[in-house]
Subunit: 664 residues, 2 copies
């Protein structure tokens, strides 16, 4: 279907496409964030924290990291810009990105989204300027994924018109809280609200935790979470509260209010539904983490691809120099499909950021279905991007051999810092479950709970008739799929419509099967409701994964459709072939099991993938240059030494020995 | 085929089987290596190096880490014991293991294997006692995998009867050298030997690099490789030599001698063959690294399984407590197949260690075919074990959520420290190629070069008629395969003979196909010899992987066959089913493509795997307890807090809220 790629492509034109609508935010970062903001290798935890704290307040205004806040408090009312800023910061220093994400995304974002005007007036300016540093205290030692079950309590006492915030036992302490161990002066604390002797579910309070000199306030116990695998510059800590008195107006009361006399009121009557509406407003964090993971993946791939273009190993029989490792098929098999997936995810992320930005810009009433679909997509893409980051950065480390293990070559930091991304802002497996639940119920169940288990039989009863929803570029996709001629077997595997059809078909069939199994389970296992869902958990997770793959491919297809430059379009189209066929190849077992591929066609796909690797080999460097990461930001010793080492590695041992022999 | 597992199995009886013939070495470690030897979390690089250097010389004699050396110098002539000691040290501290491996395995091992009596008499006692610390200086910045192409030169000058050791350019400096940056006083340096104006390939010299006070000797430049992803306690450095004079008798001359007048002689006339014979004597290091990776994997799995048995998340509709995460199918899908593979690899490693020990104990002439097969198996199992470690430790980190990211819970250290194991002692991809080459040529080519490329056309001409060699327990395997009744489709997928047959069949078919493609390539691509091999590199690597899978399964089967205890046997048999069927499930695409599985049977395997997970769930804890890692060695905060936290996590939020409401 796609034109062949003829000759080299200008990376700058590729960059134009990738930079997308927030190109100005990206350009400002590349211009204003200099070497001062880059990681320092080998520093101690204390040094890293001191440095990152300092840099946090030195971030140039141009960075736009706080741009999601309303203009009247000093923001730009631009949620998309703040996410793109996170992506850019992730290529500079991941500790700095996470610290900034805690301050302006989680802490500031919660005050903005869950608080009301008096909170905004009192705090947003200082939060935006960094004069007031804060924490987001949701997770507890005993409850991370199941946040509805948090055990911290906050009980209203009408006599004093205060809340009593309390940590009943060690498992209820707030844990892994960024900004808590060192810098946070306030925290948004999530706890079970109790008033008039009744509980109303989880709410959030703005709680001072340190005095002006940094000492913990009375009743607040702060401890350090201690050394971590990475993100050394982020001061994660633990918070416990011993009957701390909180003034009534520190309840962030957009979704639930407590009157002076203790009467509770809320625009949303159901506790759980209210809670998930509150969580929904915080979706930006998840999108930022997914985008940051992809940005770090781009850094790692840029390093590995550039190294593979200077590193030589083993002589070729038909060349007078050793072979560049990028010329080996096995090396291409590692780097190129990962690079293609990174491209696909970039387009999916860009589409999500645009959709989120639209949704948050709108003052029109929230379309609940659309909101849930957006949350589901954010959850799914966060999981896909962070797992892809973990796998790909690891692969890049290995692809660079011993050099990849040295801190000076950046990869160890990228790996260690991003490692927790699969866990924070929602454990990936739990997020996939959320995605699956949305698909199974058509986003129609009463709330988007993360909990796929407690009401398993309820869900099993609810599961809808399967109707596949196309998320992106509906008409384009429809046209492509409609254009698939005749019988599948006769269509080239590079036919885009066929590829999309295959992805859709896998999702449909998996979803259909899961629904059937759940219904059967609900009938057969009435006495073992846990087993209804648990026995098909692997199947349900596969539905979610297939859905994310399809959404990603459609976004890539739409992105190509919107690309005007014919050379860039041709190259992207080849990359898209590689992405689509790699995914099909990975799941060929499923396609063969279900008669979706014949054995011959399945083998043909492997041959076509290998052909694409050969075709894309000359463009590997272009594809990473398109990410436009400044050389300085790569912060990688072995790439700086390029010219000298390249020459030396090209020298053949014979020359050295001849020289030495002559000298002897 | 196998009996069902009825009731709990005593972990101590499982341990007896796993501890195997060197149980005494394992017991001595568990007894003598106390908390003093465990990692210190959060220390700086300098602190770690200081501590590990000190501990190295405090290792108790009982540890047997130096037991491979001859009895008359203070060793025990027990190569197997020294490998098992590495495995045990890997569960204590990986920096300590690697530092010890450099000192006694690589440095001492090279002096022992490549030197002759005068070197042994002069140095082995001090090496064994740790009074003489040394390095193994093989890898160069420009050449790691292709060690035949090292560019350091060592030129003999008969006038002074010395060698001139020289680093001609930066890419030829020795790099990543353990013990070099801080502690090494001597180094075994590999360089191109030149005498009488002729080169004779790579040889090794024993070279003093520091004086008694630790200062570099004249002409020797030592620098620090700097911070690394892990192994902070190991002082990796870089060495350069500026025309350093080496006395003639410092050539480790077992395989090549230079007379006073400069005449070169060797028992092996071919340079490359001699070099690979030299390398072959160092195979122990590779086996130690593979074993250490598996040992660390056991630590990680023990932590994740035990955590999953106390960590609860989400309520079940039919229970009054939240669900243990080990009860979720998705969690079992992560942990149990990895655990089964760890068991399989344990038996494969044990068999290899026994075979190596036999081979090195023997004073009879070396059987070259057997030696190559052993080297190939060491290479393949090193790759399999280290990749499995990287994947599994990462999975365990994620399975423990945020807790898995904290240093105090051990997993970050296990991940970071083992990460380079896929690279050092041979890059895994290069090692798989070595395995494939052995299979393609029946270990009959003139030398076991790592280089599958330079002589690709030669190899393509040579490839043998495919005859599958069974490595282990030939008769047992033959009997099992012979017992497969009738047509495949009618045999239960848990029939052991069928499983083995399927593994063998995959290897045979892949090998056969690779041979055909190479022969065709050799005919078609005479003008592009590089492409002959490169175009089938993925296929060739798949041959190696299938071979290692088969060798591993056969070792597991033989291990079960040798187990007398019926309860342990029954449990291991189920674990073996899970291993075998997980591998088949992973490669179901291939089996379906090649008509080895019908779609129905392929789906049935997934159902059987899920059934095995259910059956093995009650034995998860037993299976990790069988590894018998002392609690103290796990060095994991969240497991120490077990009782208190378990109680707290079991508390339902309702109780807390009720209590709080009452108080208000």
């Amino acid at each position: 279907m796609s034109d062949p790629v003829s000759g080299p492509v200008d990376p700058a034109r590729l960059q134009d496409v990738l930079d997308g609508p927030w190109a100005d935010v990206r350009t400002a970062h590349r211009k204003h964030l200099d070497a001062r903001f880059l990681p320092v290798y080998g520093e101690s935890g204390d040094q890293a924290r001191e440095r990152i704290s300092r840099l946090l307040t030195e971030l140039p205004v141009e960075s736009g990291i706080a741009s999601a806040f309303p203009t009247r408090y000093g923001g730009r009312s631009d949620a998309g810009g703040s996410i793109v800023a996170c992506e850019m910061l992730a290529q500079v220093d991941l500790s700095l990105m996470v610290k900034a994400g805690v301050q302006w995304g989680l802490f500031g974002g919660a005050v903005h989204a869950l608080g009301t005007e008096r909170h905004h007036d009192a705090y947003l300016r200082d939060i935006i300027s960094g004069d007031l540093l804060g924490c987001f205290a949701m997770t507890e030692t005993g409850h991370g994924s199941d946040v509805q079950q948090l055990q911290t309590t906050c009980v209203y006492d009408p006599r004093t018109q205060t809340f009593d915030l309390h940590t009943p036992h060690e498992a209820a302490r707030k844990d892994y809280i960024g900004n808590a161990a060192r810098d946070g002066r306030m925290a948004v604390v999530f706890a079970q609200l109790v008033t008039e002797g009744r509980r109303h579910g989880v709410h959030a309070w703005l709680v001072p935790i340190r005095d002006a000199r940094g000492a913990p306030l009375p009743g607040v116990t702060i401890s350090d979470a201690g050394p971590k695998a990475g993100l050394l510059g982020v001061d994660n800590g633990r918070l416990s509260f011993d009957h701390v008195r909180i003034p009534r107006d520190m309840l962030l009361d957009r979704y639930g209010q407590v009157a002076e006399d203790g009467r509770y009121s809320s625009p949303i009557s159901n506790d759980a539904r209210r809670f998930f509406s509150m969580l929904g407003t915080l979706v930006r964090g998840r999108v930022s983490v997914g985008g940051a993971a992809s940005a770090a993946t781009q850094s790692a791939l840029t390093i590995a691809v550039r190294y593979g273009d200077i590193r030589r190993q083993f002589s070729a029989p038909d060349a007078d120099r050793e072979v560049l490792i990028n010329d080996y098929l096995a090396h291409q098999r590692k780097l190129l499909p990962a690079l293609a997936t990174t491209y696909a995810l970039h387009f999916a992320q860009a589409e999500l950021v645009a959709a989120l930005s639209d949704a948050q810009r709108d003052d029109s009433p929230v379309d609940e279905h659309r909101q849930r679909e957006l949350e589901s997509r954010a959850a799914g893409l966060k999981a896909a991007q962070t797992w892809h980051a973990t796998r790909t950065i690891q692969m890049c480390r290995e692809a660079c051999g011993g050099a990849g293990y040295l801190a000076e070559n950046r990869l160890p930091g990228l790996k260690a810092d991003t490692d927790v991304f699969t866990t924070f802002e929602g454990d990936n497996t739990v997020l996939l479950q959320l995605v699956a639940k949305g698909l199974l119920t058509g986003y129609r169940d009463e709330f988007g709970s993360l909990d796929g288990w407690g009401r398993a039989s309820f869900v099993a009863d609810q599961v809808r008739e399967m109707v596949l929803e196309r998320t992106a570029a509906r008409s384009v996709i429809q046209r492509l799929v409609g254009a698939v001629p005749g019988r599948d077997e006769e269509v080239a595997v590079t036919h885009r419509g066929w590829q999309v059809k295959v992805f859709e078909d896998r999702e449909k069939h998996l979803l259909d099967g899961a629904i059937r199994r759940l219904r059967r389970g609900a009938a057969d296992k009435k006495d073992r409701p846990f087993d209804i869902f648990n026995d098909v958990q692997d199947h349900v997770l596969a539905v979610a994964a297939a859905h994310i793959d399809r959404v990603t491919l459609e976004a890539f297809v739409a992105g190509i459709e919107n690309t005007a430059d014919p050379a860039v379009r041709a190259l992207l189209s080849r990359v898209c072939d590689l992405y689509a066929l790699s995914v099909i190849e990975t799941h060929k077992g499923w396609f063969l099991e279900h008669g979706r591929l014949t054995p011959a066609r399945s083998k043909a796909i492997t041959a076509v993938v290998n052909g694409l690797l050969k075709e894309l080999r000359p463009h590997m460097r272009t594809l990473v240059d398109g990410f436009a990461i400044p050389d300085e930001w790569l912060h990688c010793a072995m790439l700086r030494e390029e010219p000298g080492r390249q020459q030396a590695m090209a020298a053949r041992v014979g020359d050295q020995v001849d020289a030495a022999s002559g000298a002897a």
